[in-house]
Symmetry: C2
Subunit: 256 residues, 2 copies
Amino acid sequence: MATGRTHRPATRSRGIPEATVARLPLYLRALTGLSERSVPTVSSEELAAAAGVNSAKLRKDFSYLGSYGTRGVGYDVEYLVYQISRELGLTQDWPIVMVGIGNLGAALANYGGFASRGFRVAALIDADPAMTGKSVAGMAVQHADDLEKIIDDNGVSIGVIATPAGAAQQVCDRLVAAGVTSILNFAPTVLSVPDGVDVRKVDLSIELQILAFHEQRKAGEGQDDTADEAGTETPAAAAKPARKGPDGDVPAVMQA
Amino acid sequence: MATGRTHRPATRSRGIPEATVARLPLYLRALTGLSERSVPTVSSEELAAAAGVNSAKLRKDFSYLGSYGTRGVGYDVEYLVYQISRELGLTQDWPIVMVGIGNLGAALANYGGFASRGFRVAALIDADPAMTGKSVAGMAVQHADDLEKIIDDNGVSIGVIATPAGAAQQVCDRLVAAGVTSILNFAPTVLSVPDGVDVRKVDLSIELQILAFHEQRKAGEGQDDTADEAGTETPAAAAKPARKGPDGDVPAVMQA
DNA sequence: ATGTCTTTGTGAACGCGTGCACAAAGATGG
DNA sequence: CCATCTTTGTGCACGCGTTCACAAAGACAT
Ligand SMILES: NC(=O)c1ccc[n+]([C@@H]2O[C@H](COP(=O)([O-])OP(=O)(O)OC[C@H]3O[C@@H](n4cnc5c(N)ncnc54)[C@H](O)[C@@H]3O)[C@@H](O)[C@H]2O)c1
Ligand SMILES: NC(=O)c1ccc[n+]([C@@H]2O[C@H](COP(=O)([O-])OP(=O)(O)OC[C@H]3O[C@@H](n4cnc5c(N)ncnc54)[C@H](O)[C@@H]3O)[C@@H](O)[C@H]2O)c1
């Protein structure tokens, strides 16, 4: 999700819906698996199952790309792999920089999963002088002072931020100023970017909180509608100012 | 999103929309920041800016929780922190297990960000005997053989999978069989789970591919409106001809 | 050719999410 | 107590995304 103020004015590019774009990599992964097993063709039903989506949705998604199927048969696996790759822009080389080579950054650098697709780690950057020159994933970490030059020299347009939250916005600003127009942010902060720059975020903590919500709901299912269990009524913690609210802290789960 | 066959039958729990739930952690983070700076109240406009969303959306989101604001003033920060925490189920303790303590798993274990909210790492589990007993993030790694016992002993209902893709489904099955009902999956695979189990996934590679798509689009912007054949350097294989393949592959395209 | 069978591609209906715009609520000042 | 000003809470409209259901397209057998 593009963070920042931008409610994208729709994918105005009269083409592929955002939701579809987000699923293409999923299809691509499933297709790659089939390709490796030398499966020649696949039906929408089979592929949908492999990708974990509804088959009608898959067909509609593909219809945005063109008519690449054959009725009565299905889709040619190799051909589809190529078409989706091209649509996603994976037939070209994408040099990326990774900023903040700490625990997470180092793990990401060691991850081979994205190097396999068009992505290539052009540089690892960290602000800690002690890190500079150290080899991570077979690559020497470079100092943040050279960030602008590195981006320029390598024609980088995609950056990954794995610094502490406090440094993220600053790093982001420098990346953008240097010409980066797509950012993947692992730091738990909202990044502000100018129009034309895409930001996507990955946040473990948020994912867990969403799971916890549903988990809590499951636990309180069946009877207790007011999702309230042992000690939810945390007494003091409420810190509820004396006014509003149906006094106490009635968990008004539902309202008119 | 719940992977697998289940298209969730909507958040049938007559209550908070899924999209709203996904934003609550964002609001919570912004509010926590305000709380630490001892800001007593905040308007929807200010908070929305801090969370990177539209203020109308924020107000509507909060309206699902109840009427916790004061017109003409705004929202009481502490009170709202509590309400959202409670709604997300963060007022209780959530023991979690992490399976697959490799590069990524270790980085996640070292991450303090989720330990601060109700989450507590109950155990680190790995199948590699060489890992067993090793200390990661101040905690001894336990062997996968004991997975069921660990989950049972600690009352774990949330699991994190950071194993290689090939092992993920198997690990997932064991987690579910042992009683885990929420899974956060970092392995690039679609997990099949029975109804009632939630799966969320984090996939760096997918995020980058989505960014690449938009990046490619930006590059080809300005003129060519007919977004059929973007002038990528792909020579012949543009349309439907039987020719194909970036990496010299089997053509085999009978697609007319 | 012709018929049958499979599977695509898509029109249409529906539901969810978003954002606008405004009335109502309450604070604040006189 | 009344007037004014601020900000919430929400009715409403709109657009996107999902799903159903089916006609059309093609493969394949006869
Ligand atoms: N580790 C995880 O599993 C995890 C999970 C989710 C989110 N996060 C987030 O990812 C970020 C990194 O986490 P981590 O555990 O790797 O932290 P870390 O402290 O191990 O690493 C941070 C690195 O960033 C570098 N750095 C700091 N300021 C910088 C700057 N201005 N420019 C360049 N480099 C800079 C530091 O030198 C350090 O090497 C944090 O924001 C964290 O909240 C981490
Ligand atoms: N490292 C990353 O940045 C990154 C990013 C995105 C996705 N991923 C994915 O996350 C997963 C882990 O990546 P990694 O780099 O940490 O790999 P890794 O090889 O370093 O670690 C995998 C760990 O899982 C353990 N393991 C294997 N089978 C197991 C089983 N059945 N039960 C328990 N443990 C088992 C291994 O012993 C190993 O310690 C992979 O699927 C990878 O594709 C990683």
